[in-house]
């Protein structure tokens, strides 16, 4: 049982003529039993990082420690890690029993009976006991996914690595498995690194999430912190669904101007002091449609979701998305005034993208669950 310490990890692929930097100077500390989600767009280096942790890729620079032990130069089989692959990678010629027991058979000195016992325990835990004698091809996607999990769990590794394990499941099954996986991880209390490109999944599952872009770690933090206080425009844009509304505005004292007729009076102009232009960010849920106001936008599409409506609007060529109550449904093609709180406003440096101001509104914490003892 151990945490993970990654320090100064570089991974450079030598593709003959040029070097491709997949991961650059990544350092992060993952606590024992923590569920860390690595998230980012495709090609951001998250899978490469995971593969380095697994021992499937050599590390160019830096070190990886599991607990107190340096595993940087150890082979995958010597690291006491288990990995769940995106496409499950089940051995097609073995039964479910064979698939789950394969690792134990190869890497431990356990007797056949003992292995059998463990395989059956794991199968029962995952609810696939009746499938033990089936071959992978006769299983459904969800069942294959459970077998892949079982194969990882049965070895009782000190670290779990998961590479987009839910991305091949349909939406309903995915959210079920999401919960199940979290419960399982909490029960087993094994340090887990989980890679996904789906920010919703990252938000929902991670104790902390690590956002990566272009091989560089952008931010590590609890989901809510990353959502509310992104360090830069990329993180703000990547986390949250629908995405944050972003547009650039000129700074005129305490007033933000543009695009089009847009103006916004800042009560506290401190964050924009010394900037001529800034990027303005507003989360869709923070935009409210008002009776009358300074700023207006054209409604292009209204998507009723049942419990809420998504309004897609246009303001001087910039698309805006608003998440509003189901009662708010302006006619498509009309002009609506909108507003938002300064406390909900994000401001970023227009050049570097660094955050100047993030959400300062308070989160309603009136209802807190009680723990039963």
């Amino acid at each position: 049982m151990s945490g993970i310490t990654i320090s100064g990890l570089d991974k450079v692929y030598d593709s003959g003529t040029e070097n491709v930097v997949a991961v650059e100077d990544l350092s992060v500390e993952i606590n024992h039993g923590e569920f860390l989600v690595l998230v980012g767009p495709s090609g951001c280096g998250k899978s490469t990082t995971l593969r380095c942790l697994a021992g499937l890729e050599d590390v160019t620079n830096g070190s990886i420690r599991f607990g107190d032990g340096d595993v940087t130069d150890l082979r995958a089989s010597e690291r006491d890690v288990a990995m769940v692959f995106q496409n499950y990678a089940l051995y097609p010629h073995m039964t479910v029993r064979g698939n789950i027991g394969f690792g134990l058979k190869l890497s431990t000195k356990m007797t056949g009976d003992k292995i059998e016992q463990k395989v059956e325990n794991v199968a029962e835990m995952l609810g696939i006991s009746e499938l033990l004698n089936e071959k992978p091809k006769s299983l459904s996607g969800g069942q294959q996914q459970r077998v892949a999990l079982g194969r990882a769990i049965v070895r009782e590794p000190s670290v779990f690595l998961m590479d987009e394990p839910l991305s091949n499941l349909d939406a309903k099954l995915r959210s079920d498995m999401r919960t199940e996986l979290q419960e399982l991880q909490a029960d087993l209390d094994v340090t887990t690194v989980y890679v996904t490109h789906d920010q919703t999944e990252a938000m929902a599952m991670g104790d902390r999430i690590a956002v990566m872009d272009d091989g560089v770690l952008q931010q590590v933090g609890a989901p809510e912190d990353v959502y509310r206080s992104p360090v830069n425009q990329f993180v703000a844009d990547f986390i949250g669904s629908p995405s944050i509304n972003l547009f650039t505005a000129d700074v005129d004292g305490a007033t933000l101007r543009g695009p089009g007729e847009f103006t916004y009076e800042l009560v506290d102009p401190e964050p924009v002091a010394g900037h001529d232009r800034v990027s303005v960010g507003v989360r869709p849920e923070d935009i409210t449609v008002v009776e009358a106001g300074q700023n207006t936008a054209d409604v292009t599409v209204v998507e009723p979701m049942g419990n809420e409506n998504f309004l897609y609007m246009e303001m001087a060529g910039h698309e805006l998305t608003a998440r509003v109550a189901p009662a708010v449904r302006p006619t498509e093609g009309t002009h609506v005034p909108f507003d938002f709180d300064e406390a909900a406003l994000y401001l970023f440096d227009a050049e570097t993208g660094d955050a100047l101001k993030t959400k300062t509104d308070t989160v309603d914490s009136a209802i807190v669950g009680t723990t039963e003892d």
């Binding site: 021992g55 496409n87 097609p92 690792g103």
Partner: protein, 278 residues
Amino acid sequence: MREQRRKDAVWQFLTYAFVVTMVVVMMVPLYWMLVAATLPQEQFLQFPPRLIPGTAFLDNFAALQDRLDFVRTIRNSVLIAVIYTLLSLVLCSMAGFAFAKYEFKFKEPIFYTILATLVLPIQLLVIPLFLLMAQLDWTNTFRAIILPWAANPIGIFLMRQNMKSIPDALLESARMDGATEFQIFYRIALPTMRSSLAALAIILFLFQWDLFLYPLVILESADMYTIPIGLAQLTGFQRIYYDQIMVAATLAIVPMVVLFLVLQKQFVSGILAGSLKE
């Protein structure tokens, strides 16, 4: 709609007609071989030819056995072909796996060099190989027939192409499960390649079974002869023993048919199905 259906029917008819014609064209010589093996020599040569099987098969076989000890010849051929096939399957699949799944220095040049040897005809290789075998003092031995062809370039190429289709994740998964590289090869890669191995086994077996010029040069004594060489002995200077040739040829295809029937059930497609979720 009806027009389309009629067109489909015509096409189907033409397809069947073509297939039937091809089957007949291929079966006629085979049928004639079987019939001729049961006829005495004089009936074989009569015109119009007799197309109904006769009763002289055992007589013909006895004459053949008397002249050549054909049972031993078949045994030689089977022994050589079986050992060769097994050995070559091991070597070709290992080489194919390495070329398909590992990175090493000069991988491409080595592979293309192996492929390039395909253009060398056996006739060209016979003399140098004979000289080599003579120096090793291996003439008139089975190992001289088996070993030079054991690393078969077609086999290596075929296995490399097929092994490329094994998903890397499958091998990595085994690696994480603690399998050594050799365990990955024989416990994961080989079992998923069963149908390719079966196909390759037939190619290799057939190659060795039909080999004529090279064994003719290497094998000196009659007790070492393989079937193709045995058959050649039946073409004498004064007469050609057609009846015995036909018996021998008929018997020579039996092991091939058996091999094919045994391996047939391996040709089930989709061995890899269900391993990866696409």
